[in-house]
Amino acid sequence: MNEFLDDVDAAILGHLARLHARLDPPPADLNDRVRFAIALENIDLEVARLGEELLVGSGARAAERVSTVTFESASLTIMVTVTASAAGTVRLDGWLAPAAPLRVELRLRAGGPGGTGGGAVDGGPASGGEVLSVTADEVGRFVFDGVRPGLAQLLVHPIAGGGTTVVTPSLSL
């Protein structure tokens, strides 16, 4: 016990690393998703963690998929219902709690559905990624309609410009 590490130990650990890399590799798009999510200029941010995720199943029509996601940060809860329409676009119905007329941005990664580009700066500050912006109403409700599917991220900005921006991890619409 507690002898110094030697070459056999190195061989065991090396073998273990190769085996895990093969049996349980990270998802192929994980690097892309992370790089998209952190390509933000505003460093004064608060992270909203993924809370409950419910797949409500098909809506009235079979072509309609509905899911509800909740993100929670220290100061804010963001609930989003995502509805995929037959037309191929996506509608987001969101609520903020506590309710406040805050500016909500939806960052979309550049490129078509599936994000085949895979470039390191997709959706980054200097790239062609798209940003949609709305203001929540007084009960905290906001809507994005006709959104193209793909990788997206929500940002909720403080009222008076300064202060902390709440950001979510990237979500696949």
């Binding site: 590490l5 070459d7 994980l30």
Partner: protein, 207 residues
């Protein structure tokens, strides 16, 4: 990698060299990231994302949970970049944050009364089992068989330590809240146990 005792010095020397190359590279990326260069942080993600994935998965998270936890950890890093000055501190901070975020997800799932996802070696239900994916290689099968006999904490520790360089062993063990001396310059209980089982198994050899 050779198990020959005569090459021990050379192997150790090159380990240190490789580790210090990696540290130098990470240190340069960290400097760039701290100066607000997105290329710097992207390079750090490319380098350390697999490590964070394996930390998250070693804490019994399902694949999609692990992917979310890894993203949350990187977002948290954006807030902390100004506090983190060395590659060793960076790796340790990322590992311990991933572990803590994984703990939150596990706690919430249990509070909600949901069952834990299948163990760390499992993937989606429709995917082939680890046993099927292992293949026919006897040496691989032997390692996996004995590794699976270790307790969950040992499996988590060894899975993660296997991915970092030797100078980081102690930092990573600490970040995983494993007892001091569980691995580092000396072989701890977990590696000792696995090593004993492997050396007693004629189907596994170090080289």
């Amino acid at each position: 990698m050779s198990a020959g005792a005569g090459r021990r010095g050379a192997t150790t020397g090159s380990d240190v060299e490789v580790a210090s190359d990696r540290h130098d590279r990470l240190a340069r990326c960290l400097e760039r990231a701290r100066a607000g260069d997105h290329g710097g942080i992207d390079a750090i993600v490319n380098e350390l994302n697999p490590l964070l994935w394996h930390v998250a998965r070693s804490q019994t998270l399902a694949s999609d949970e692990a992917a979310d936890v890894v993203q949350t950890t990187w977002l948290e890093l954006l807030r902390r970049l100004h506090d983190i000055r060395s590659p060793r501190a960076l790796t340790a901070w990322l590992v311990s944050t991933t572990r803590r975020e994984a703990w939150r997800v596990n706690a919430r799932r249990r509070r909600d009364g949901a069952a834990d996802p299948a163990g760390l070696d499992m993937v989606a239900e429709d995917a082939p089992s680890p046993d099927e994916r292992l293949g026919a290689d006897e040496r691989d099968r032997a390692l996996w068989r004995h590794y699976r006999r270790l307790d969950e904490r040992c499996r988590a520790l060894l899975r993660v330590v296997a991915l970092v360089e030797r100078p980081d062993y102690d930092d990573v063990a600490t970040a995983l809240e494993m007892p001091r001396g569980s691995i580092g310059p000396t072989r701890g209980r977990c590696l000792d146990k696995l090593r004993a089982m492997l050396l007693a198994d004629p189907t596994w050899s170090a080289s």
